[in-house]
Symmetry: C2
Subunit: 257 residues, 2 copies
Amino acid sequence: MSSKRPVILITNDDGITSPGIRALVEAVKDLGQVIVVAPDSPQSGMGHAITIGDPLRLNKVDMFDGIDSWQCSGTPADCVKLARDKILHAKPDLCLSGINHGANHSINVIYSGTMSAAMEAAIEGVPSIGISSLDYKFEADFTVAKMVVRDLAGRMLAAPMPEHLLLNVNIPITTPATFKGVKICRQAYAKWAEEFEHRVDPRGKDYYWMTGKFINMDKEAGTDVEALKEGYASVVPIRIDFTDMEMKKWLEQQWQF
Amino acid sequence: MSSKRPVILITNDDGITSPGIRALVEAVKDLGQVIVVAPDSPQSGMGHAITIGDPLRLNKVDMFDGIDSWQCSGTPADCVKLARDKILHAKPDLCLSGINHGANHSINVIYSGTMSAAMEAAIEGVPSIGISSLDYKFEADFTVAKMVVRDLAGRMLAAPMPEHLLLNVNIPITTPATFKGVKICRQAYAKWAEEFEHRVDPRGKDYYWMTGKFINMDKEAGTDVEALKEGYASVVPIRIDFTDMEMKKWLEQQWQF
């Protein structure tokens, strides 16, 4: 590692005032020069949304004991883009997103604002981690999450990493005494069985609330859902190339144009 | 194929009033029972956003000459979820999203509301296509796009398809006379170099507009960007499992926990 302190960009999707991002800053602040650029309001379920049709605001705040911090009116992906272009004027050495209050394992990676920020940095070639706790409560205990992300961040800063390294890390509800350790996993095939709750507003018009039941359809070994159930933290490396090469072969064999 | 007419769910991200979704309905309406459930306003750049914190509205409209149609206050992914749970009460046989006014090739699959709707259906095991034209204009000519999506939809309804088949289809700016045909491709590695334009509002406060330059970093053969440049329509099969299996092997070899 060079003598220059590495630049660590921190963001999240629960918003800059959430306890999770504070825990993340505390966990890694002595590993490098930490910069926080995070949404000014909660952005959960924003997927990889970006803001094209509206202007973006970026305001410097002082919320993390002297660590340079900005709140942004946009999405998590917007935060990473703006940080690079308007604050850092260069790529950071590492991007950390979280700690999310709530799980982002299995299929949830697709809907996750936490992961979209990390993915945005990974596209740029910045090693990145999205980290989430299964404890969605405001007052969640992030002790184990802080241990794990500090360990992983240290490894990623200690040596050159493969290009586009992007980790989806989830932490079970556990304590240092009961924590089983870290497991490298694959994404479980799971889905949400949505049941929209129908209501009628005071003007007699219908509306719906999205609710849903999480269903793990994946009974094979090695998934993130399985590891979390056993008390391990799950680490799933995520692709930025979404091409399905097996399906591509099938199509090339089956379909003539 | 059974004698029952297949159910084709159509949605998009430009909104139900866009010419692109009308062209899509016209292209396939005789292939099955078409149902339209689409956003009531433009949703471009929404990625895989879903609406958790707000209620959703769903209103029946009559915009497509007798074809059952609803407009929804939510995102493209919300439309697919609501259609399945509250309108169809079952899985459709095919889901088509588009025709998007603007490209969704290469890395744009990540930001695309068009693709998020198709991906939502694919997670459910519904064969799906997201289709986009490189011509982003309101008055774009969708003649070739209609030919291509009709061809692909017919193939996908004619025989059982592999599970989670999901196609990202892009159409170059072309005419039936100059169109080169369809190519099965892989996703190009490309990115957006963002340059945020700084302005000051009438109250003296800073704001930023996202602008950006598309950069294709992928000079190897077989990409969607290359096919489109040559005048072909690109078809990229997309994964719903984002696990990077090569990176997983690397991590297992390099990192001990």
